[in-house]
Symmetry: C2
Subunit: 136 residues, 2 copies
DNA sequence: TTATATGCAAATGATTTGCGTAGTC
DNA sequence: GACTACGCAAATCATTTGCATATAA
């Protein structure tokens, strides 16, 4: 449990800034493209390293997706997500987290429960509209 | 939307059998190792192909994990999971799914909600015991 | 000053795919 | 017999890592 010293480099700051500015939940590659406009010599490896460090520090969150590619969330607070099955986009769900949801399980399981993740699955308005058109 | 004909090959049947027999949620590689005992010439590619086809058919489920590796679940019914943060093991959570959980969001979101996934995070009894020992 | 971080490129690891052959329906 | 699936090996894709150099504290 060595406490590591974190230096605030330009790369790290820009990555964090982009992540906080964007409402969506971008992939490492999307962040790389954004930051590259301001820091043309940054490498993709550096982006990955920083995303991992910032995740470990609890300054950002890493989202699991169905595919191999992960997404990142600049908001470190507990909140739920809403995923579009058609286009894969992930947004924050406009509901507050319900911590009480863990209580029932505490009595029924021999696990020590420390949290939960809830994700809603749906079709976003954009894809919904497009589906209508395609169906005629 | 071409309806594809699915043939029940030995490989496919054995994969399905293993997945249904096992209570845990194995990776493609673990399934490969199990099936290989009965079908020594099966290839890992075939295992992946079948796991994907069975997932598309809704006969099994594919689980997202924090890492790149996916896990598979022989139970196709809607149910929640319980993940150990220490060892990564995933079990079924001993609670019934609550469909009503989606209702609140239907009014608050412009997404067409079609489902949700809930995962509890905790420490399994096995890892909990080990932690105690290590802390002394 | 000195440990931490970077850029680059090569390595990794899980998963997918092309192709010729085998097996199911 | 026709068409799906298989085994094998090579390809792909996201992510990680080794190393020499640069930079924040």
């Amino acid at each position: 449990m060595t406490t590591r010293k974190i230096r605030m480099t330009q790369q790290r700051r820009f990555i964090l800034e982009e992540l906080r500015r964007i409402r969506s939940h971008p992939s490492a590659d999307e962040i790389y493209e954004k930051v590259r406009r301001r820091l043309p010599r940054i490498s993709l490896g550096t982006v990955y390293r920083n995303l991992n460090i910032l995740t470990e520090c609890g300054m950002i969150q890493r989202l699991e997706t169905g595919s191999a590619q992960r997404l990142f969330d600049g908001d470190p607070r507990a909140h739920y997500h809403l995923r579009c099955v058609v286009c894969g986009r992930v947004e924050d769900a406009p509901v507050e987290p319900i911590i009480a949801i863990e209580d029932a399980l505490r009595e029924l399981s021999d696990y020590e429960i420390i949290g939960h993740r809830l994700e809603f699955i749906g079709v976003c308005p954009h894809c919904n509209k497009r589906d209508d058109v395609e169906r005629g």
